[in-house]
């Protein structure tokens, strides 16, 4: 979207909201990485609408019940990486990824039905569930790699990833860069490989360029390192913690 079009879209959305009209944005497919005119995080539509709303955490818990079947009640996913840890992920990141999945900008056939408006609701639901997920305590024991190449992993991380993902993988909510510290190794591996191959269609071209020359050994090393980066203590749950919202 051009800056002018985007401004008009935002103005239109704002007018709708100001007038108390029903929120109208629907999932709309955009361009994919590699396509001419692709802009990472182009935004617009549902995503912008959701970002402008105040999350209702009570409804967020109810929406999350759907998600808990796979992402688990604690939001920790599975250590084998089948489902990622969501707990503690940035608010804006969750809104963006959910918007992208249901608009067909990020392929995830398994997830697709659960992201749909018919399943979880419109843009308000996106805000609600993102607010809830963001507040969940994180997994104290994510899945790791084999731990044999961490010195290389650290060097690669410090040289290549801190600009966007932060000094310790904390990401950046404002800039939509995901928190990757404490994420399951096998999930990181799958997403990283899909990003590198252009298969993840909503990927950031700067990241693709950054990791272009990483070998397989580099990949395993850096992601094992990342899976062991610890979030701040206050964000992590104690071992064996169960989510009281679902007991």
């Amino acid at each position: 979207m051009t800056t002018l079009t985007r401004s008009l879209a935002i103005a239109a959305a704002a007018t709708l909201l100001a007038g108390g009209a029903t929120l109208a944005a629907e999932p709309t497919k955009g361009k994919s990485v590699g396509e001419a005119g692709y802009q990472w995080n182009a935004g617009g539509g549902e995503e912008d609408e959701a970002l402008s709303l105040k999350p209702d955490l009570k409804n967020g818990r109810d929406v999350y019940e759907v998600c808990s079947a796979c992402h688990q009640m604690e939001g920790w996913g599975l250590v084998d990486g089948t489902f990622p840890q969501l707990a503690g992920q940035h608010y804006r990141v969750i809104i963006k990824q959910l918007s992208d999945i249901r608009a067909g900008n990020r392929d995830n056939p398994t997830m697709y039905p659960f992201a749909l408006p018919s399943q979880i609701g419109g843009s308000q639901a996106l805000a609600d569930v993102a607010g809830y997920i963001q507040g969940l305590k994180m997994n104290p024991e994510p899945g790791h790699g084999d731990g044999k190449d961490l010195a290389l992993g650290k060097k690669l991380y410090d040289d290549n990833c801190t600009r966007c993902h932060g000094a310790v993988g904390e990401g950046n909510n404002d800039k939509f860069f995901p928190r990757i510290q404490g994420q399951h190794y096998a999930y990181l591996l799958r997403q990283y490989e899909w990003i590198k191959a252009g298969k993840r269609r909503n990927a950031n071209p700067e990241m693709i360029a950054q990791i272009k020359n990483f070998s397989e050994r580099d990949t395993r090393a850096v992601l094992d390192y990342v899976s062991r980066l610890s979030p701040p203590k206050e964000l992590i749950a104690p071992k064996g913690w169960k989510n009281p919202d679902f007991q």
């Binding site: 079947a69 796979c70 084998d80 089948t82 056939p109 398994t110 039905p113």
Partner: protein, 198 residues
Amino acid sequence: MHKTTVLAVALALATASPALAADGKALFADKGCTACHGEDAKTPIQEGYPKLAGQNADYVFQQLTDIKAGKRANGAVAEVMKPILDDTAEADLRALADYIGGLPRFTPATAAGPADKPGKQLYLTKTCIACHGKEGGKPVLKSYPAIGGQDRAYIAQQMKDIKSAARANGATNAMQPVMHLVTEPEIDAIAEYLSNVK
């Protein structure tokens, strides 16, 4: 309205929408579906063949289309079904799917077994419930199959085929990524549980 006009209007309607004219019930008999799936579409001639009655019409249509196109070729479908479907127009496939979808849902062959079957718990913990719904009876999308009460051997075979990618059509791409979560004995246990669900 004048009788001739009524007739003319009726004819116009009939010819304008060929799908309306296709009789799914007649097709189901004429195409020989009853031979394998039973006259009521839920009494298959042998174990390992699926019950169809009441299955989600969109799912049935997808399977028929995929079998015809060769995109689904696991088990008996390639040899037995494809030749029949090769000879069936798309509008007729749709009519068949709609007919099947409108029938009363299939139910288990035997009375429900003990409530604490191991498959019952696996159905939850392996996340099957997320997509196929409570007791396999309420899938999250109309294009996903209801599986509660389905033939035990058929369920088990489909799960194994989706896991190995011997079957890779349609929305199996949504299911394949979680199939490594189940071993073969677990697959059998889940199939045993589902086949007995009312």
